[in-house]
Amino acid sequence: MQLSERIAIVGIGETRYERASTRGLMALLLEAARAALADAGLAARDVDGIIAPGATYQELHELARELGVRGQFFNAESWSGGPAVVAAPLLAALAIEAGLATTVLCVRGLAWGSERRGNVGQFHAEMPNKASFEIPFGWYPQVVHFAGMARRHMALYGTTEAQLGAVAVAARRHAALSDNALLGGKPLALADYLAAPYIADPFRVHDCCLVNDGAGAFVMTSVARARDLRQPPVVVLGVGTGVSEDGEYSSLRANYLATPAVHSAPRAFAMAGLTPADVDVVTLYDNFTSMVLQQLEDLGFCRHGEGGAFVEGGRIEIGGALPVNPSGGQLAQAFVLMMNNLCETVRQLRGAAGPRQVRDAEVGLLSGYSGTQHATLLLGRGG
């Protein structure tokens, strides 16, 4: 089954991103889903497939009922964490090409700002080996895990704090060009970055993603049907997934600094018949600044160890050679497990990103990461 250039993203929708919402996650999911359908010019009755990563059994069916999805529908669970949204087009393409669905809605939201009140490490604390062998020694939570990777990257390759800062500064500059970014009104100079105190050396608060509430959604259908809809279609060119050979414990990985992008990216590029040189804009899972470096290396944009030098000099800023996360990403716009980044890539490829528009953006790459899993998605401007 040929999957490249068979389906397109035809609608996107997002809520306002907030530090903490009083509305509850279901209301946010419904708002985003309705906005994506309206953007596509479709009605809920047109939807016969739903991918709702992270939704519980109850939430999935409440979503379908509230939207008004009727009768037979295709449902798939798509990985977890950052790869789920990015891999959803692979499942949608399989379903649509196989005739199981015609129109697939992917919706994803988080209410960690209001629900978890900052305790984002809880799921690590519930793993017995981590509770026994890591947490008693202060190797907890995520910020410490990733600071350990950043520290080794610095020690092995000479990566500097200013290079991590370049990622934080770029994210904040991009957020300033968005009307829906949590840190849009808070500019950050490199000197401010370097003057901030450490949380988990080498990380400062500016190296860490946001914790917030919000949701987004997107609608997929066949390229043939997409031509009759109201938005310029954004075509799925290639998608690949991968998993770490070493399982859950980042502390024990044989190749400690490699993300499973080393597996997913070659598959996505092969499906699309493209190389990194063909990519005009990148959105990736920036849970911490250093992970931007590591993913750029693993995706093939630079060699291993060269991520620090790569992000310097404005290269990853809008106007640079390879703009990364032009809406501010999860460091400065909102943390919604790549949904904000997917909607932004679609806007960029429609040529509808306003003051953030990357010139001549024809191919976008999405990099969805979650420790042990990774998905790479290549999207293209429809003809």
Partner: protein, 146 residues
């Protein structure tokens, strides 16, 4: 040995969890013990029912030297758990064992030299009692002889 009061009273491991109980028993005896496959002699870390090398299921806990090297480290300035509030900043690290660098332990670094830790810095285990049931292994930075 460090002062027992230095150890947080919360977020301690459960020394009775059967999977890890022999590890804590070793620490109480002043020995660092790691499961090792009887069939292929590979260390099985973290403990697992199945050896990642040969699939074998018999992994007696085996004493190791307690010597190793710093793989990476983080100086933590914020207490993410209440039990760490009175000890920040602290240096947490991954240490790879001399017998097999694939075995890494998360640990506290002690006797860190003024210039801070370095990649590959030699360390050796030291045992820090918490109470009658629990002794935690930490690692001291040691100056290479020579």
């Amino acid at each position: 040995m460090a002062d027992a009061r230095e150890i947080p009273v919360r977020h301690l491991p459960d020394p009775g969890w059967p999977v890890a109980a022999p590890f804590w028993e070793g620490c109480r005896a002043g020995e660092l013990r790691i499961p090792r496959c009887r069939a292929c002699h590979r260390f099985v870390w973290y403990p697992s029912a199945v050896c990642p090398g040969c699939g074998g299921g018999d992994h007696p806990w085996t004493r190791v030297s307690g010597r190793g090297r710093v793989f990476t480290w983080v100086t933590v300035h914020r207490a993410f758990l209440p039990g760490f509030a009175d000890r920040i900043p602290y240096v947490t690290a991954l240490v790879e064992l001399e017998e097999d660098p694939r075995v890494r332990l998360a640990t506290f670094l002690r006797d860190v030299p003024g210039g801070g830790p370095q990649l590959g810095m030699p360390v050796e285990v030291t045992f820090e009692p918490v109470d009658d049931r629990l002794v935690l292994p930490a690692f001291r930075c040691v100056t290479p002889r020579g």
